[in-house]
């Protein structure tokens, strides 16, 4: 025994170690390789682009546009919850901040909606700092409760200010390109392209230096800190990124409905977005996109069940979470 250990230790010290061959496990299955293909994003976009050729009734376009906006929300929340592991129960607050900022500026100052985007970004960043600044010092459960509170604060504030129109909200918000083009198909394509870019950018963030830092924080805050990652700043960055994504989704929402009211930004909305993230697979971009589409379209698909549709919706969600607790399309666990 001592001979063997002596030999191994000696081998390491004197001669150069032979290059260590990585141990190959079972190769990825066809399904795994298919699900990890980089071209799937294009396939998803193609499905989105082709959908209006299958069904283009105003009602269907409305549902599909809402689904795409919801994808943007889910991808934004995925930065906060999926990448960084910060449980945010008040995400609708940023959605509201974006929608109200563009709504107020476009109606009060008669600005075109696109011109309000820079202001929306500035305001949502500020909102991210104001809400995230004090709360991100807390951990897990406490953070969830405080974000829940902030979500309600934003909604109740909107309900009580006169500039936000109180409970009746703001109406007469112009469309994305002014009132001229109000064709729902054109609007759907515009939203689809914007959201596709937003999804791509969020995915790229996840694969970068800052994206890794978020995951390190999620895995082990102390170890991340020991590697020189200022966990507070990194968490705030995740929060701000999530806020901007949510705020821009709010602009699209305001453009789609042309009227917004506090009733659209309840805790239920926050919970639904979170559900999309968890259902799809936390930290996985394709998963979250799929989750958002399922969550937003399933109640429509189940419409035939009339009064039972939300019951069926709930049962289906419970079944999925029991059968696949990691989500429908979880984050890939190994690198290529």
């Amino acid at each position: 025994m001592s001979d063997e250990t002596g030999m191994r230790a000696g081998g390491g010290a004197t001669v150069q170690d032979p290059p260590v061959k990585p141990v190959k496990g079972r190769g990825p299955t066809f399904v795994t390789r298919f699900l990890e293909s980089r071209h799937l994003g294009w396939a998803g976009l193609a499905i989105g682009l082709l959908a209006p050729f299958i069904i283009a009734t105003p009602y269907a376009m409305d549902v599909m546009t809402s689904a795409v906006v919801f994808v943007m929300l889910a991808v934004g929340l995925n930065i906060v919850v999926g990448y960084c592991g910060l449980l945010d129960l008040g995400y609708a607050a940023f959605f509201a901040v974006g929608a109200y900022t563009s709504g107020v500026l476009s109606t009060e100052l008669k600005l075109p909606l696109l011109a309000t985007v820079p202001a929306v970004i500035v305001v949502t960043v500020l909102a991210g700092v104001v809400i995230g600044g004090p709360t991100l010092r807390l951990r897990s459960d406490y953070l969830a409760i405080v974000t829940l509170g902030f979500g309600e604060i934003i909604r109740i504030t909107a309900n009580n200010l006169s500039i936000t129109g109180g409970p009746s909200g703001i109406y007469g918000i112009p469309g994305l390109f002014g009132d001229a083009t109000s064709d729902p198909v054109v609007f759907y394509y515009a939203v689809l392209v914007i959201v596709a870019v937003a999804v791509l950018l969020a995915a790229r963030l996840g694969r970068s230096r800052i994206g890794r830092a978020w995951r390190f924080v999620r895995e082990d805050e102390d170890a991340a800190e020991a590697m020189g990652i200022n966990t507070y700043k990194v968490k705030l960055a995740a929060y701000i990124a999530g806020a901007v994504w949510g705020g821009l989704a709010g602009v699209l929402f305001a453009a789609q409905l042309s009227a917004i009211s506090p009733a659209s930004f309840t805790f239920l909305q926050s919970a639904l977005v979170l559900m999309a993230v968890v259902l799809g697979g936390m930290g996985s971009t394709p998963g979250v996109v799929l989750g958002a589409i399922v969550i937003s379209l399933l109640p429509e698909v189940l419409r035939g069940l009339a009064d039972y549709r939300f019951f069926a919706f709930g049962v289906l969600l419970i079944i999925v979470m029991i059968a696949r607790p990691q989500g429908l399309w979880p984050h890939r666990s190994r690198e290529r």
């Binding site: 025994m1 063997e4 250990t5 002596g6 191994r8 230790a9 390491g12 010290a13 170690d17 290059p19 260590v20 990585p22 141990v23 190959k24 496990g25 950018l201 790229r204 963030l205 694969r207 970068s208 230096r209 800052i210 994206g211 890794r212 830092a213 995951r215 390190f216 895995e219 082990d220 102390d222 170890a223 991340a224 800190e225 020991a226 590697m227 020189g228 990652i229 200022n230 966990t231 666990s333 190994r334 690198e335 290529r336």
Partner: protein, 269 residues
């Protein structure tokens, strides 16, 4: 390199560290030993910023970092491993080591969003660096897979590789030999020497006396938060106060002799 001066740390009424003074010079291996609960890990946690010391000064390269946050101390060139293995279990082995590159990798958020040449270059650089350090610690196992699927000993190597990818000037190892078998300990000994040969100063907490006596340039002995000895291994080994700390006050001559044998004999192993 590292200077710790009159460090004190108390939890309520308990003095975990009571007036510890020691230093680690450039390229030096200093071991901190002592019975369980002597305050070794507490002292390490103060040095790396995880605990705020009650009193005392900690300087790195002359800069006072007492009570600063851990990430700032890491920025000054200090890297560490943890007593109870703190790897990022749900991430790949390579990603774990890439954590060490966070501080020096030149990549801005804009680069990542637009996939600029700088992004591609820095990602390649980070991966090469991670592979380099995994080679250095001679990791056996799947680098692309999750780190939690590796055996314990290999996870320890990943943790050390991660600390090295920081390109530290000072490396603090907290019981790196814990849970390793005899052969792995021999490899660890060799690894620690190779790290020192890179010009990295090392502070080591370790219970394995054989390893400590073999590798250290200097040994600091703690007991009840107080420093009871500081010197070269040969000197510390024979120090009556050290033997007493390990055996207890009422040890008679024969027992002291036996302990001396044990501590001394560990070297010949």
């Amino acid at each position: 390199m590292l200077e710790v001066e009159d460090l004190r740390l108390s939890f309520g009424g308990v003095l975990a560290v009571d007036g510890l003074t020691f230093g680690v010079g450039a390229g030096e291996i200093v071991s901190v030993i002592g019975p369980n609960g002597a305050g070794k890990t507490s002292a390490f946690n103060c040095v790396t910023g995880f605990y705020k010391p009650t009193a005392g000064r900690i300087r790195i390269d002359g800069a006072d970092v007492t009570g600063r946050r851990p990430s700032l101390i890491a920025e000054k060139g200090v890297s560490r491993t943890f007593q109870n293995l703190r790897v990022f279990g749900e991430m790949s082995v390579l990603d774990n080591v890439r954590a060490g590159t966070h501080l020096w990798l030149r990549q801005r958020v804009v680069d990542a969003l637009l996939h600029t040449p700088r992004y591609r270059r820095s990602e390649r650089e980070g991966t090469d660096e991670a592979n380099k350090w995994l080679d250095f610690v001679s990791l056996r196992g799947d680098r692309a897979g999750l780190v939690r699927n590796l055996p314990y000993g290999e996870q320890r190597r990943v943790e050390i590789a991660r600390a090295l990818a920081r390109r530290p000037k000072l490396l603090l190892l907290d019981e790196p030999a814990a849970g390793l078998n005899h052969g792995e300990k021999a490899e660890l000994l060799d690894l620690i020497r190779r790290i020192r040969d890179l010009g990295v100063a090392i502070a080591l907490i370790e219970h394995d006396m054989g390893l400590v006596m073999e590798v250290s340039d200097r040994v600091v002995v703690l007991n009840f938060g107080k420093e009871i000895a500081d010197g070269p291994p040969e000197e510390v080994r024979g120090d009556p106060a050290v033997i007493e700390a390990y055996l207890g006050r009422d040890a008679d001559e024969a027992e002291v002799e036996a302990a001396r044998e044990e501590v001394g004999g560990a070297r010949g192993e």
